[in-house]
Symmetry: C2
Subunit: 231 residues, 2 copies
DNA sequence: AATATAGTGTGTCAGATTTACACCATTAAA
DNA sequence: TTTAATGGTGTAAATCTGACACACTATATT
């Protein structure tokens, strides 16, 4: 027996909180909207999910269309479903987050006309955002903080080769507190998944620091036995 | 300028993973479906969200209609959005979880005809469930495990007055491993939010254990300064 | 009354982890 | 050569964790 699903005018969307780290500051990706409602406002990159794509795929597509960025590892973190969160009807949105190295070269260029531009903005002093995007951002930021403590996500925000000071300042930016240099280094190195390179920092006008990189293979070897309770 | 939202035949639903603890065993609430598809199968309590209710409200309503339970503190934990997770069309579902004291008296009685019955089932040896509900359950169970370590959720599963042994066996059931009795007690008591009562267990044929209760006021006082990163 | 049964309740020590804390080294620029 | 800026390092105290065993108490059984 076939039973038909009820047909409602319900719309699903995706919104993305994309974190980057640049010049010692944590930033997120914003777009300038080119569509009503909230035309000309700043907003998180987000749009409507199509009928025939999974929400994970939708997240990737939408981010690409609005910013030109691809192949990020995005994870959903919360779904926002208040009745009046969208002025034009019922829209439930699934929020995703991702981390990315901000790369001077990589241009941010919307592929659709729904956004006028896309750009990085420091997470401190965020302007007012469209819809309930300020709340969505805040929830995502909390998630990021929490995950920083038990997942190797910091390395996705840094260049491939980085100094311990850069790593520490990233932790400090995300957690919003000062850490002790010696203790921080001792602990990070004790994990055993940082690989010390034979290279040093270049172009600084003071003693150059050693460069390290994150050894993902070692990381998984070390932590393969721990339950993955992340889902 | 008014812009109309596109109209898709998208359907939203809620599914609930409700945990209870009884006779030393962790259980979840299942229903027997009375509707196609998957008529007569066992499933998590779940149904479709209405146009004019928030998803949080929908979760409460749906659980009530299918099981007769009300006023649980439910929290969403994941949204499942694969294209073909529902055989009759596109249905995206937001999964919620909650913890509850299983109370002998409290009867489980569906209010709607969509379920034939509702009952508790041990989380070990779960039968095959309808749709992707096995995966939803598994994700929720992982979430529960993780939260047990940093949130005072164990107490929602126990009677108001409980013994330390009961508390320990709950932890053991959720984490699925044996804990050391002396260390467990030392640690729990050291937090300072367990209130020792002047009462003892009754009706046991061996030395009666002291009863404790969870002092939520003390708990919040102790942990008020810690960042609440739970959202 | 004696005994069996079943679970309660308790302390210590070793090892690991966390925290606090200050100074010399190196490089480039002035 | 001096200054400015950051890199890099060790130790000791305090705290936390994990391993480990036995006497106590209440009831039921004989």
């Amino acid at each position: 027996m076939e039973v038909k699903l009820p047909t409602f005018n319900s719309v699903f969307s995706i919104d993305c909180v994309i974190f980057g780290f640049e010049a010692g500051e944590l930033k997120i990706l914003l777009i300038e909207r080119n569509e009503e409602p909230y035309k000309d406002w700043l907003a998180l990159p987000g749009y409507i999910v199509e009928q025939d794509e999974s929400i994970d795929n939708a997240a990737e597509r939408i981010l690409y269309e609005l910013t030109g960025l691809r192949d990020l590892h995005m994870q959903q973190f919360h779904t926002f479903g208040e009745v009046n969160r969208h002025p034009q009807g019922r829209v439930i949105t699934v929020a995703y987050y991702a981390l990315i190295r901000i790369n001077g070269q990589k241009e941010l260029k919307p592929v659709t006309q729904y956004a006028k531009s896309a750009f990085w903005h420091p997470v401190n002093e965020l302007p007012k955002l469209a819809f309930d995007h300020t709340e969505i951002f805040q929830t995502g930021f909390n998630k990021l903080r929490r995950r920083l403590n038990y997942q190797p996500i910091a390395f996705e925000l840094l260049p491939e080769k980085f100094t311990l000071t850069q790593l520490q300042s990233l932790y400090e930016a995300v957690l919003n507190k000062k850490l002790d240099k010696r203790n921080f280094r001792k602990k990070m190195l004790s994990y055993g998944f940082l690989k010390e390179l034979d290279e040093k920092q270049k172009g600084v006008s003071y003693r150059a620091a050693k460069l390290y990189k994150f050894d993902r293979r070692k990381y998984t070897k070390i932590f393969q036995n721990e339950l993955n309770l992340d889902s």
